[in-house]
Symmetry: C2
């Protein structure tokens, strides 16, 4: 695994959080984007080689809404960049991890992505992503 | 802020988690350490410029034990490296964030550390750290 590509944080009110974290990080989000396929609004800050991604959902039955309802706001997942996602999926499946998308699916930002189910990772939702050239 | 220095993950059983994440990351923890002052056992993996730090407590009334009891295992905090921690503490205090240690205190690994209280950061426990030369 190459780096922590991003840390995903689920929030209730993206506008409020953008203002708060602009002051915390002393910089504005470099991008705000609606991802219609996941029913989320997102904003991104860059710290070193890692993005901090805030996720707000406006659909009450989405994964992010359910998470926020259950846990309030909080760190939702960690995404690791890998060089070859299918190779990692095959290796991790062989190690007994539960792979959510196999084969990997096309995500935002021209990336192939998958997730490891928290029940197989001691409670942490882990994303793997590979940048497409 | 320079980089995500580490991501802290609270766990119930460090031995089990070390085995699981050695297979997940395809590498062994580069360090295991008991931090007596915090009543925790820790292990560290390095991914890019970020450490993944697992924390297990053997004291039922410690902050980590309380967290695990309440939330089960999960991502406990994010630590950002800063160039001058006292400058950041003063700036963030002026912005209304609640600083847990002011002045910063000496933590593990020859670092000065402090935390921002989650009630002021929309629910995320944030650590700031500065490496001492």
């Amino acid at each position: 695994m190459i780096r922590v590509e991003h840390i995903g944080i689920a929030v209730k009110d993206l506008k409020k959080v953008n203002d708060l974290y602009s002051r915390l990080f002393n910089q504005s989000p470099y991008k705000e984007e609606r991802v219609a396929s996941e029913a989320v609004n997102t904003s991104f800050f860059q710290i070193g080689e890692t993005k901090i991604e805030f996720l707000e959902s406006d659909q009450p039955d989405s994964a992010i809404s359910k998470y926020v309802d259950k846990n309030r706001s909080g760190i939702h997942h960690i995404a690791f960049e890998v060089a070859d996602i299918q190779l990692e999926i095959d290796r991790l499946k062989g190690e007994g991890f539960v792979i959510i998308y196999n084969p990997a699916k096309l995500g935002a930002d021209n990336k192939l992505i998958t997730f490891l189910h928290p029940k197989s990772t001691n409670g942490v939702l882990i994303e793997l992503c590979q940048e497409l050239k």
